[in-house]
Amino acid sequence: MAATYRLDQLTVHHLATKAGGAAALHALDLVIEQGEQLALIGPSGAGKTTLLATLACAHQPTSGQFELLGVDPWALTQAERHALRSRLFLAPQTPPLPPRQRVVTTVLAARLPRWSLWHALSSLFKPAEPQAAFDALSRFGLGDKLYARVDRLSGGERQRCGLARVLLSNAESFLVDEPLSALDPTLSQLTLTALQQEAAARNATLVCSLHQVDMARANFSRIVGLRAGRIVFDAPREQVTDAMIAALYLNESMDAPMPAFHDSPARLAVGACL
């Protein structure tokens, strides 16, 4: 089976930092097979979101090897790399939905990479595949919201609406960032199950960052622990012990001294912090 991702000594810096600044991800080695499902856990600021963005070709690594679906995306031309992006789907933690848009339009936007411009325009006038949008929303219990406006949805509904897009994409890899952050336990399980079933049905790879360690251990067979930009462990769930989890989340700022200088961007606008 071919690997979806092959990371070798991959180092990534934040886009804003200058050369020589601290890396967000340090020398990661990670191989993810096609169709594999894994959970990414770790404390806030560990680099989970940066890793997902890197896997989505939304973030260029600084050094190391990055292989995606058999090629190095950053060695391709811009057009080829952009074509590759349509084979992945990154669902950010805050759902990227314009508040004034209708749910049906916002969900169908996942089809855009496959649509011609003319088709995209006509779908703004009359939704092209309302049935497909309805089916995707129903999987997350949102079928009745098909023609509602996004700003009428609650936070949890918006989050699931953003995830319904995943089902309408034809991605071979789902990269989902904190899909459960605004959901109650029952909806969390329903949502995670819908994502995992869809990934399994189309043999897509699923990488899911989670704050709920219990959910991660209960639903994913492979767990990757990330802390301070490094992989602490990468193991089948049977081998992940409570001690490993405790060490992963151990609060290091308690004993470390506070930094004397505040980290601020090199250039500050006059009203930047108003």
């Binding site: 996942a110 601020s264 500050l268 930047a272």
Partner: protein
Amino acid sequence: MAAAQRHPDPAFRQRIVTGIVCLLLLWPMLVYSEFKPWILFDAQSLKSTGAFLAEFFTPAHDVEFLKMVLDQTWVTVAIATCGLALAMLGAIPATLLVTERLSISMLGTNRMRLPARALRQVVRVILILLRSVPELVWALLFVRIVGLGPTAGVIAIALTYCGMLGKVYAEILESSDAHASDSLLVNGSSRLAALLYGALPESAAELISYTVYRWECAIRGSAVMGFVGAGGLGQRMDESIKNMAGSEVSTMLIVFVLLVALADLVSTWLRKDLV
């Protein structure tokens, strides 16, 4: 020791310095522009203002004149609308070239490729050139080329407003929330698709209200350009002022107020539909 640590705001000093520099720059501007508002209130000015206003309180209202005003109002609205439509035809593609949003080459690298950057700068300079020449000057120029009449006004508005719309449209897009359009781009959408499904829903209301406001400005602009022979209500107003017919000027000014109020109404109505 932790309590003794200070946390100075790194932006504070820069703000103070910027404030002082702005004041220093503004003062000579006030002096050089000879801004002396008290001249308005000396005895002679007040007297001539009073005479002027007295004339104004009896707007001309004979049928023949009103018919002419209606006719010319229509010409003015047509000049403004055609000019703005032509301006948008140029401004919308220019916006897409100039805006830093929706850049596929910046995805993941935060750097724009050199050819793209060069193209952006070229279009930006063209927009600056277009809007830095006042529409009155364009009108004077085109009255010489295409002769007296509305055509010169339409071309003048189209050129200046193309520059303004292109710049402001791009800035409206850049100041809106990029999350939706960026996310579409990251998942493989084309630029135009991301614009239609991500950026436009975020900023449609602002874009529309600015466009309607510009239409309002174009109506006023076409009045001014009438004075140099570019047709419409302004040309008639020029004639009336030269004939010292204050009541006719008054009627035409009322028409302008009504037109601006109409623009305001249209803008409110369109925004209510969208927001």
